[in-house]
């Protein structure tokens, strides 16, 4: 297909999901500037491969590209071991700069900020499935494809994400991540 035709397809299929793309990137990277770069990178790739899109759910397809952009960005910009998305136990141990936020913000009684901070403090692997589920209302099978994990893992990560959020949002909650204070990465001491 020529450039013009590709652009028209892209305009109809991908551009309408700019909000979903940015929302996912912003939640995954937790930074406006990085999220914008990742989304732009994703859309460049989406435009290049738009003629290979055959499915029905353009939003899920695009979000998969966005997610990969974010993942690549994290791998290239974070020190090794800081972000693990394959090993849930390891992911749980990532303290992250936002870990202290829920408590600090809770003091301000700001419900929205409290919820946002609790989600932001979730490890990448849990944050990813939670955002796709609660913000985009995607089916487990779509989330599985986007995050490149089995459906069973989607189910367990979502349950874990919710348990962490419940604890973080409970009145007088301690920061979630304090519950797993092991300072190791990938099980090595």
């Amino acid at each position: 297909m020529n450039d013009e035709g590709n652009w028209r397809r892209f305009e109809a299929l991908a551009l309408p999901h700019a909000d979903a793309a940015y929302n996912l990137a912003k939640w995954l990277l937790r930074n406006d500037h990085d999220a914008q770069d990742a989304v732009q990178d994703a859309f460049v790739r989406a435009l290049r491969y738009i003629d290979t899109f055959r499915g029905e759910n353009a939003r899920a397809w695009l979000l998969q590209v966005v997610r990969n952009s974010c993942f690549t960005w994290l791998k290239e910009n974070r020190p090794a071991g800081q972000t693990s998305i394959d090993d849930e136990e390891a992911a749980l141990e990532v303290p992250g700069p936002a870990a202290q936020e829920p408590q600090a913000i809770a003091a301000r009684q700001d419900e929205r900020a409290r919820i946002d901070a609790a989600i932001a403090a979730l490890p990448f692997a849990f944050r990813e499935v939670l955002v796709l589920r609660e913000f985009e209302d995607l089916a487990y099978k779509d989330i599985a494809r986007i995050a490149e994990i089995p459906i069973g893992t989607v189910m367990s990560r979502l349950a874990r994400a919710r348990a962490l959020l419940r604890d973080a949002l409970a009145p007088g909650a301690r920061p979630v991540l304090r519950e797993v204070p092991r300072p190791t990465v990938n099980g090595r001491a």
Binding site: W7, D19, N23, F135, Y140, R162
Partner: protein, 269 residues
């Protein structure tokens, strides 16, 4: 009967309605008989609701939208942008609003009001686009004739005016003189209309000023469309890839004679 973790997974998927029918019904049966299970399900539902209603949805900033729009292949977008910028902006707005409607029930009524306003505005803007341009054309003409700043380059010789304008614009405007009795070509200036720098050519016809604005057009040739705007006569047409707006306080008949003379000169070039 199951590990607590496994149970949590089942309940979470139950709340998401992602369990197969048999498991779903099994949990419903269990919950009917088990008060604490019902409480855990309620708790999960409340949590889900508070996330969906309480967390921040990060809509794409306009800066990002502009960056994405620039991904378009260079040539076609130029045409599209000038032909239909508002429908696509409207689509994006409608898309964003429909997302709000979908998962922010509390905001639904406000969003709907905003949607109605936005749709109305887009329609209004499209209708008014031509008229607002006519307004700007008249305003520019009036401003220039009120002040001393009718022309930047005063010359009755189009061989002087044309290169001067070309050097200051990203196009070369056709500069024509009027072969009418009692008509003088005063010169040209650079003005700003329709979001871009344009050439303004100024003539004196009897005691009246006539300003002719020229800038590149995207569409094909059109016949002159005459209108009256706040007591001024205006005419607008496209020829040879150039927009032309003419405005004057001449009376209607004289104005039409001037426009006809301009078009003859244009055709003769």
């Amino acid at each position: 009967m199951t590990r607590p973790d496994h149970d949590a997974e089942r309940l979470s998927a139950f709340v998401d309605q992602e369990l197969d029918l048999q498991s779903h019904l099994a949990i419903e049966r269990e919950a009917a008989a088990d008060e604490s299970l019902r409480q855990r399900i309620d708790e999960l539902r409340r949590l889900r609701q508070s996330i969906r209603e309480g967390a921040t949805y990060h809509a794409a900033p306009s800066e990002l939208r502009a960056r994405l729009a620039r991904l378009a292949p260079a040539a076609p977008v130029e045409t599209r942008a000038s032909q239909m910028p508002r429908p696509s902006a409207g689509r994006a707005a409608v898309d964003a609003l429909s997302r709000w409607l979908a998962w922010r029930p509390l905001a639904a009524s406000f969003a709907f009001a905003a949607l109605v306003l936005a749709t109305g505005n887009v329609a209004w803007l499209r209708l008014q686009g031509e008229e607002r341009l006519a307004d700007d054309v008249v305003a520019s003409h009036v401003r220039a004739s009120l002040g001393q700043h009718v022309v930047d380059v005063a010359s009755s010789d189009h061989h002087t005016v044309k290169p001067w304008l070309s050097a200051r614009l990203d196009f070369s405007p056709p500069v024509i003189e009027l072969s009418l009795p009692d008509s003088t070509f005063l010169g040209g200036r650079v003005d700003y209309l329709d979001g871009r720098p344009v050439a303004a050519l100024v003539y004196r016809q009897g005691q009246h000023l006539v300003t002719s604005f020229v800038w590149p057009a995207s569409g094909g040739d059109t016949d002159p469309a005459f209108a009256r705007q706040r007591g001024f006569e205006t005419a607008h047409w496209v020829r040879g890839g150039m927009n032309r707006w003419v405005v004057s306080d001449l009376n209607r008949n004289e104005f039409r004679i001037v426009v006809e003379a301009m078009r003859q000169q244009e055709a003769a070039r």
